[in-house]
């Protein structure tokens, strides 16, 4: 059986600035994989390449066996990949409800959508309380929940998360981490997680890749990486 996602030897440039120089990663059905790495290492670029927001120069990206490199984002989403972008990007002047419904844009079965909606609201009861509030007025944490919910509305098989803990209070970070774990376990959604908060990322993922400036430098089982001295020195630091 082939992997769910194969990201093979991809090079990506913005104008003449390289962002990825031959990166390969993969992900199995049901896995949670973390990408950690310094600033500008290219983590976001990997996600952008997968969703078609950026077009790789070389290499191949296969999702469930089919090539999606350079595809239109709309098509990628329709195939079952949803992404929570860096900086949340809510639709600030739409209600929570409309934001969530936007998540189901590629789906057409009304009843099915309603079911997913109910499940999302069940998972994030806070969103139910704020159901018709304009999204821009939500607090940062609530917005983060909402965009995760929005991504789930697409009923994705693969969920891409770009720094979900950015700018979020520690307590909420824990809530979000718990949600990710349960989405993965209960709904069987595979997760590709980009995080600066490496401790959190490693603790909730099965496997992880560490990147520096456009290259994968370390990869392996998250538990093992947690104790890997190289990782510890660069990404985890001493105990707080």
């Amino acid at each position: 059986m082939s992997k769910m996602l194969e990201f093979h030897d991809v090079e990506l440039y913005y104008d003449h600035v390289y962002a990825l120089r031959g990166v390969s990663i993969d992900l199995d059905q049901g896995e949670t994989v973390a990408l950690i790495g310094a600033n500008g290492a290219g983590k976001t670029s990997i996600l952008r390449a997968i969703t078609g927001l950026a077009r790789p120069r070389t290499g191949s990206i296969r999702f469930e066996g089919e090539e999606i490199a350079g595809a239109n984002p709309a098509d990628v989403v329709a195939r079952g990949i949803a992404m929570v972008p860096e900086g949340r990007r809510v639709f600030p002047y739409m209600s929570v409800k409309d934001n969530l419904l936007m998540g189901a844009f590629t789906r057409s079965d009304k009843k099915d959508i309603q079911q997913t909606l109910d499940r999302v609201l069940e998972r994030f009861p806070r969103l139910k309380e704020r159901y018709s509030q304009t999204a821009g007025t939500l607090s940062g944490g609530e917005q983060q929940m909402m965009v995760i919910g929005r991504a789930l509305m697409a009923k994705p098989r693969l969920l891409l998360l770009d720094e979900p803990s950015l700018g979020i209070a520690p307590k909420l970070v824990q809530d979000i981490a718990r949600s990710i774990v349960s989405i993965n376990r209960e709904e069987g959604v595979s997760v590709l997680l980009v995080e600066q908060n490496s401790r959190m990322a490693l603790s909730i993922s099965n496997r992880a890749y560490a990147l520096t400036t456009g290259n994968v430098v370390i990869e392996g089982n998250s538990k093992e990486l947690m104790t890997d001295p190289r990782i510890k020195a660069a990404y985890l630091g001493g105990e707080v």
């Binding site: 990007r89 639709f91 419904l101 936007m102």
Partner: protein, 289 residues
């Protein structure tokens, strides 16, 4: 008094429709469409040709003008604005394009329809005269109702349909909309077509009352800009509020200040500037919502 309110509603409804199309295009593409007025004129001429010249039913003419403008809008987006927005380093550059387009449409309208004022037969005759408190011809009342109906339909479309939601999402965050599976190119085109169609619809409605001529385009654009400013750029409710406010300002100004004719508009303009100086983002200044 009643007359002023009636005039205000009538003017407000038609203005609001003009402003809606402009603000939609602005919200979606960040394009200040100088050619909006010309699109409106084109709509009027299409209706004139089909209803006034060919003698087909008015409804057919109105539909034809909507369709023509929608198609034109879609083409303009696809072949002109789309490419320029993608390739230019400053988004204001589209203004040159929009102005060029206004010139082009002026030229095309002149060649196709001539320079004369055109009018169509009245669609309904008679005048409502309520005790000399409100005097309003029936055709105006009808057009006013149609305008209000179109506005309601448009809002419902934007608010409750999937396409409408996608357009709003696109206006607020293009990248996020893309990640929801919205095909940005297609929906930009739809949005532009919709905005142009609104212009065509107003043109088709108003031609029955005011007639149409080449010269009406430019001033209409400027008026639409004013309404959009009053209400706040890129907001549905703002466009409507702006249209109604300008409509009432005109109705009141003309009634109250008629003896100082020359300065009625000067006062309207100046008060607009003062208003904006106090409230720079207009009444509902925020992006599309």
């Amino acid at each position: 008094m009643e007359q002023i309110i009636a005039n205000g509603i009538y003017l407000g409804a038609q203005y609001a429709m003009i402003a809606l199309g402009l603000t939609l295009i602005f919200a979606l593409m960040n394009v200040l469409n100088f050619a909006h007025g010309q699109m409106y004129v084109l709509g009027g001429f299409v209706t004139y040709t089909i209803y006034g010249q060919l003698g087909l039913p008015y409804v057919v003419a109105l539909l034809a003008s909507c369709v023509t403008l929608a198609v034109l809008g879609a083409l303009i987006e696809k072949f002109l604005f789309g490419p320029v927005i993608r390739r230019s380093s400053r988004e204001e550059s589209t203004m040159l394009l929009a102005a060029g387009l206004a010139f082009l449409l002026d030229a095309v309208i002149l060649l196709l329809f001539g320079e004369k004022q055109r009018g169509v037969p009245k669609i309904v005759d008679g005048v409502l005269n309520w005790d000399f408190r409100i005097i309003m011809p029936y055709d105006r009342i009808l057009i006013c109702l149609l305008a209000i109906l179109s506005i309601v339909a448009f809002i419902s479309f934007m608010q409750f349909t999937k396409t409408g939601r996608a357009l709003r999402a696109l206006a607020q965050d293009r990248v996020a909309a893309q990640l929801m599976g919205v095909n940005v190119e297609r929906y930009s085109m739809i949005g532009f077509a919709l905005g142009a169609m609104l212009a065509g619809l107003v043109g088709g409605l108003l031609v029955t009352i005011t007639g149409i001529n080449l010269g009406m385009g430019g001033p209409t654009s400027i008026k639409a800009f004013m309404m959009v400013m009053i209400g706040g750029a890129g907001v549905i409710s703002g466009a409507i509020a702006g249209g109604i406010i300008l409509g009432f300002m005109e109705a009141i100004g003309l009634a109250v200040l008629s003896q100082y004719g020359d300065i009625t508009y000067l006062l309207i303009f100046v008060s607009l500037m003062i208003f904006l100086a106090i409230r720079p983002q207009g009444l509902m200044g925020k992006p599309w919502g």
